[in-house]
């Protein structure tokens, strides 16, 4: 970027953004809240809170089977939400967008409906050492049933997936590669498009755990070339308990239903039941209608802001943290991925992450401490866990200052 472009580029107005998030305006333990646990869950803008409240105030009814006005409005809002989320990831069709309770449920759906019925003895599933437990345990559980094997893809000390090692592992036994788009523990942005190309060549399917990616930049499932993409609303300024699975149409068509119940059926009879079409055959029971409405509102909100500016702003906060961290002798950053998204994971020498987390909390600063649901990675790096500060669009340079002042104080108390 040259100087002229730089001066003409609009400045990302973080203070304007902060006004959209009412929860940020509060004190915790006598200090203004600094919320740096965004990788665990993001806060919700008024647009999302209002959309959910308005749905319950005016439109609430069950979907798809009512003959009355409210049911019709609820169904329209629900299916319009599917359209919004589907377009957000550039799905060719909203039939390929299945509502779930979140990324974990999306991955389990693929594990139980596709992998368990397709894989057998001698087949392999590759997952990276970086993965969240949600992208490890379901594969282990179905492997125990179908005889497949879960093999970890090595990770370099930088926290990047070792692509040469992946190439070495990709043989005809590999039927699925399941990797995160962004590591929740280290922030590594994985080269998922390249991984898809490599896996395809070996004849393997690819599932991408997109939980940590969707909040940071636009995702295009067609351009990525993946077979499944799993993500959650709550890490994207939407409600908890809501998520989606995107899949290739022919794959989803070939997969049997996973949960049985209402909504997913065509005809039910004791002589045999037939199932509904996509996407409904995977959506047994009354769905999280308000969740879908809130999910769409979150996406509309994200699309209403300067996303590119927001991404640059987050990158600035991360770079600033890395610089400030390098100036603090006791701080050791964990991983230094070639490309990281919004996550600063570190240790303070001679202290336990939980010590640091508790002392930051006393100063109104919310961070995550522990293994971040990535125990294999922590074991791999021989760490008791890390302290993780994760940034979002509403964090400020002042938040970074508060974090480092808080760390200095914690260090004084602990030494």
């Amino acid at each position: 970027m040259n100087a002229q472009q730089q001066s003409s580029a609009p400045v990302f107005d973080v203070n304007r953004i902060r006004q959209d998030f009412p929860i940020l305006d509060q004190e915790v333990n006598g200090h203004p809240l600094v919320y740096l646990d965004n990788a665990a869950s993001t806060q919700k803008p008024n647009a999302v809170i209002d959309a959910i409240a308005s749905y319950y105030r005016r439109d609430n009814a069950n979907v798809h089977r009512g003959v009355h006005a409210l049911s019709d409005r609820a169904t329209q809002a629900f299916e319009q939400a599917r359209e919004t989320v589907s377009q957000f990831i550039n799905s060719p069709s909203s039939r390929q967008l299945i509502w779930t309770s979140g990324t974990t449920a999306s991955i389990n759906l693929v594990a139980y409906s596709w992998a368990r019925n397709t894989l057998g003895k001698g087949d392999r599933i590759l997952v990276s050492w970086l993965e969240h437990h949600a992208d490890i345990v379901p594969w282990q559980m179905i492997s125990a049933q179908c005889g497949a094997e879960v093999i970890p893809i090595p990770v370099e000390t930088s926290g990047d997936i070792d692509l040469d090692a992946l190439a070495g592992l990709l043989d005809e036994r590999v039927k699925l590669v399941a990797v995160g788009h962004v590591s929740n523990a280290l922030g590594t942005v994985n080269p998922v498009s390249q991984i898809c190309t490599m896996a395809k060549k070996a004849g393997a399917k690819v599932l991408i755990d997109g939980a940590q990616a969707v909040a940071h930049w636009p995702v295009d499932v067609q351009a990525l070339g993946c077979d499944f993409y799993a993500f959650s609303a709550h890490k994207l300024f939407g409600p908890t308990g809501m998520g989606a699975l995107w899949g290739r149409e022919e794959l989803l068509e070939s997969m049997p239903p996973f949960l049985g119940g209402g909504e997913m059926i065509d005809q039910v009879s004791f002589s045999g039941t037939t199932f509904n079409t996509l996407p409904f055959k995977f959506e047994a029971g009354t769905p999280n209608i308000a969740g879908a409405v809130g999910f769409a509102a979150a996406i509309n909100y994200v699309q209403s802001i300067d996303r590119e500016g927001a991404a640059l702003h987050e990158e600035h906060l991360l770079n600033l943290s890395v610089q400030r961290g390098a100036d603090m002798p006791a701080l050791r950053r964990v991983g230094a991925p070639r490309h990281a998204a919004g996550i600063f994971s570190f240790l303070i020498d001679g202290t336990h992450p939980s010590d640091v987390g508790m002392l930051l909390d006393q100063q109104g600063i919310a961070v995550r401490t522990g293994h971040h649901c990535a125990q294999p990675l922590m074991e791999h790096f021989e760490l008791p866990g890390t302290v993780r500060a994760s940034y979002s669009i509403y964090n400020t340079v002042d938040d970074v200052d508060r974090l480092f002042a808080g760390l200095e104080k914690a260090l004084r108390l602990l030494s």
Partner: protein
């Protein structure tokens, strides 16, 4: 094993902790005191850091070993985190060198409330206070 070097339950008892913590107005002094208490715990030999002695439900590692001397329970506990070691000291001020009956009769919730631990170190958080107390009470029940 002799606990002569362990001050908790001997020279530092629950009422001493309550009294001292009561002097402090701000959280920094309270934490500093708790962290310093943790430093007074006698070292637990490395070879006692076993899976069986590990207490689950804590973000940091907490180990516990116990013995009975003259019908009083003696605990050796350790953690890899400073604040948690301090909390162990606070808990052992109440429980160490006490009879099983006294341990089971002790009102730990009231103790925590008096320490004002509820506000600053709520037992519901990842500090493992609840898991520690439950394990000590289990040991006491088995010793009755």
């Amino acid at each position: 094993m002799s606990n002569s070097t362990n001050p908790f339950g001997y020279t530092i008892k629950a009422e001493d902790v309550i009294e001292t913590l009561g002097f402090f107005d701000d959280w920094e002094d309270r934490y500093k005191y708790i962290i310093d208490l943790g430093k007074e715990l006698p070292a637990m030999p490395e070879d006692l850091h076993t899976q069986e002695r590990l207490i689950r439900g804590c973000q940091s590692k907490v180990w516990i070993d116990s013995s009975v001397e003259n019908e009083r329970l003696q605990f050796t506990m350790d953690s890899d985190a400073f604040i948690v070691k301090g909390l162990i000291a606070v808990v052992l001020a109440a429980y160490n060198n006490a009879s099983a009956k006294d341990i089971l009769d002790f009102n730990i919730d009231e103790y925590f409330q008096q320490l004002d631990l509820m506000q600053h170190l709520s037992p519901t958080r990842g500090n493992g206070l609840q898991a520690m107390v439950a394990r000590i009470q289990d040991i006491a029940r088995n010793a009755v």
